[in-house]
Symmetry: C2
């Protein structure tokens, strides 16, 4: 669904003026936000609001186990939450305004891990991961909480892991869209080797943009780090979405019948 | 037509996740470009393309007397061209996608003068004038070309003129929308007293943003001045349009039933 260009002669005083109308695409990008473990969609609303203003349909949601009050959080598995993400993605794509070839998924921490996995199950064009977590594949259906009982989880997050050895990284290695990867310099929960594993995995991405929030911790406890992340995300999405629309208008205006 | 916010329970595995969808307004801003005397809509197409990408319906057109080949240019009056502008404005507003409360008019030189006049005849929310020309009211129906035979035209452009004494400035004095006023430092056709007359006239504008292109001439002969003007215009329009949408989303999300 591209930018439309239309030429029209408009009558005035029994003469005519030649006018050109350039209209944005009828279908809009759809942006899906995935919060981190222990978070909620409330954390995504400010960013969703700003991005909706760019002319996108935005969806936030609460992962299972994160209702208010939270029910059964200690029984929720990655499989459960990945299914949550799938049905919400489907709901977004069912919106008649949404161009299903223009879906962005924006995930933080555990939500970034799920977002990476989703790319192997649903169409995703843009993937924005902030401090995406990494887990071993083993125990896929175990409660997510229980994964942290493994004394080797943090050592695992300091090791080099190849896409062949990890389901989330394998999804990244197959991903051919555009990627934003934002890390926090002093992140002890998702340390820099995890970021490197993700970065290496995106070898087939159309474009890769990495950013580092200097002095920030995993939760971006300092409000200024939150603002910096929001600014990075909005700038990147604007660039991706607006440049795509502008290119489509350039092509439309270059049509021989309009020159 | 404001940003829409919708809460929905989506079923998954016989449970439900709570999702929020934030959608941009259904109606889009409409942007009307008015070229200068001796120009053509071709000069506006790059800017129109960039602004359409922001999610606006853009219209450019050739003023009467500026067809290819130009017919009767020496017989065209301000009245003729203002009627041209009126019918093209109506065509833009008839587009079902366009929110008629969100119309911007962008005019250069003589086109800026016409754009100022249009605000007294049609709804205009945003007015962007680049080096708007100024003419005496007398001889309204004379050919526009003939106005330049008056030896007092350039002295007039160096005098202080009040809204009470000039139809275009009177329209500016009644205008209550947002204004961008861009001048060229070395403009000999629209010298700085004209810019000052316009600036003073906008005493009731909701907001006023003035910018000066340092070292530029009236035609912006240097390509870099063209680029600087385009950047100023796009930044201003983005700010106006996106901040309006973002505020509307903020209000929508603050509704008690969504908190």
């Amino acid at each position: 669904m591209d930018v439309q260009v239309e030429r029209r002669r408009i009558e005035v005083d029994r003469q005519a003026v030649l006018a050109t109308r350039i209209s944005p695409p009828v279908r809009l990008p759809g942006i899906l936000f995935v919060h981190g473990w222990g978070g909620s969609q409330r954390h995504d609303l400010v960013r969703a609001r700003e991005i909706a203003a760019l002319g996108c349909v935005c969806v936030t949601f609460d992962l299972r186990g994160h209702e208010h009050p939270p029910l059964d959080r200690d029984r929720v598995s990655r499989e459960h939450n990945l299914r949550d993400l799938g049905v919400v993605h489907d709901w977004l794509c069912q919106d008649f305004r949404v161009d299903t070839e223009q879906i962005a998924v924006v995930g933080i921490s555990y939500g970034g891990y799920l977002a990476a996995l989703l790319t192997s199950l649903r169409p995703v064009r843009w993937l924005a991961l902030r401090s995406p977590a990494l887990y071993k594949d083993a125990g896929w259906n175990r409660p997510k909480q229980a994964l942290h009982e493994d004394p080797d989880l943090m050592p695992f997050r300091h090791r080099r892991v190849s896409p062949a050895a990890n389901r989330a990284l394998a999804a990244c290695a197959r991903f051919r869209g555009d990627v934003l990867l934002v890390g926090a310099e002093n992140d002890e929960i998702v340390p820099s080797p995890v970021m490197s594993n993700y970065q290496r995995a995106f070898s087939q991405a159309r474009t890769l943009t990495t950013r580092l929030l200097t002095g920030a911790d995993h939760a971006l406890s300092d409000r200024r780090d939150q603002q910096a992340y929001t600014a990075i995300l909005i700038r990147w999405l604007s660039e991706q979405i607006l440049s795509r629309r502008s290119n489509s208008a350039r092509r439309a205006l270059a049509r021989p019948d309009l020159s």
